[in-house]
Subunit: 272 residues, 2 copies
């Protein structure tokens, strides 16, 4: 192999670390891949760490143990997270967003990997210290956000279903009240082990029924809920479920032109 | 601002490009962020491009036009893609994977962002030249794979529903035959425009009913299907739907111990 310059190695190593946030790499893997000594790789990692810190692009964590290791962590700082959420609030506040029944049309936002990727990164930054073992969501609209948060956290995304599916194997079913209707939530028994830590993520907090159902479901699995987050919550529901972190608060709806009014969740406010 | 060294800039720029594959950045954005001249940033990008090429870590594409620009493309080479899929086949071939009715238990694999991220990257590499405008999937199990492919391609993921939902607004409904049952598929009218190019992604190809339904649905929207891919297809279905690229082929099932036998899709074979 031709001599590999430090500049090339830095680009390659950054790409490998950033593409799989939260995944641990041993120094030996890098030494082998780039034919470099451990001390050289360590210096490279110091440079990458410094650049991430300096420009607010995430964190490089050093892992102790056999041979040592390193992993990249998504870390969106408060000001940047707030800016992204506020921009999304503005986009959603235009007319024509509100459907009959006062429902907010979100399917296009949920489809957008750039937006949902950023929102997932904000949730991952917020909950990384809660150390969830998995992200739980309820099908269907919450899955993309839950998936991107899970990707950033490097944990599985566990999807509760409306009804049990033969291809999910034995499952736990619970009933929950959503608005004025009883519904069923089902989760494959194999997906969660007792004592695991769950982060709940869903699209909309309205009656709170689904969120409460997900918490009940976790109790059935003897799993611990270490956090809960939503893309949007109504003003009323956000007040009632103050432990749930909604990225956006739906303040109200103007029925005359179908315009909604949204603001970033209070927990996103930049601390003084 | 203190002087920024090339090594720091390389790590920072690689992180920015790689975190949002397919997103275009102007050279001016980098010049401003790192206080460097265009010629300097161009040299940096040449180094990053060279490192990606040399180590098979993706592609850096140069964009012509006002001021010029650049974007990172996920590009898993054939040999690496084949290796990842074969490893997954081996994992799924263990006993206890097969549920009553000969169904394969996949929920844990679908929940794993590392595996699904890689599979999505393989699909993105395969279909990037087909230039899809969006990825279409049918709820629920196909969403994570579709989402990760869409993330790598930097296009939206569009989710067809089993029934119309009030919060999706006006929708197109079609009926399709899945096995021996008629089912309904629904898609919000706002999500697809005539003439757009669709990549179809789903979890399992068995009767081919859902895949055919998704194609019919795209016809209703006057959208063009530019490719179709599945996580797993049965041997029989893969033969019948030869235009669908299944990452894995389910060769058979041993009912005595619940073990499945899978191999990578033939299209993944490394060309001589």
């Amino acid at each position: 192999m031709d001599h590999i310059r430090r500049t090339e190695r830095l680009a390659a190593m950054t790409r490998v670390l950033v593409s799989e946030p939260g995944r641990s790499f041993s120094l030996a893997q890098f030494c082998e891949a780039y034919g470099a000594a451990k001390s050289t790789i360590s210096e490279d990692l110091d440079i990458i760490r410094g650049a991430m810190d300096r420009f607010g692009l995430g964190r490089l964590e050093t892992l102790t143990g056999v041979g040592g290791g390193v992993r990249y962590r998504v870390a969106v700082d408060h000001a940047e997270g707030y800016r992204h959420v506020r921009a999304l609030c503005e986009r959603l506040s235009g007319p024509g967003r509100v459907l009959p029944g006062g429902l907010l049309y979100l399917a296009d936002v949920i489809a957008d990997p750039e937006i949902i990727g950023r929102m997932g990164a904000i949730l991952a930054s917020e909950f990384v210290d809660a150390a969830p073992d998995f992200v739980l969501t309820m099908e269907t609209q919450g899955i993309p956000l839950a998936m991107m948060a899970a990707h950033s956290l490097h944990v599985p995304v566990v999807i509760a279903r409306r009804s049990g599916k033969a291809y999910e194997g034995p499952a736990v079913h619970i009933s929950y009240l959503a608005g004025s209707q009883f519904k069923t939530m089902s989760l494959s028994r194999r997906l969660v082990r007792p004592g695991q830590r769950a982060l709940l993520v869903d699209d909309v907090l309205r009656s709170g029924g689904t969120a409460t159902g997900m918490m009940d479901l976790m109790r059935e699995f003897s799993a611990e809920v270490v956090g809960a987050a939503m893309l949007v919550g109504t003003e009323e529901a956000c007040g009632r479920f103050s432990h749930v972190k909604a990225l956006m608060v739906l303040e109200g709806v103007d029925p005359s032109n179908g315009a909604a009014s949204l603001r970033p969740g209070d927990w996103l406010l930049v601390p003084e």
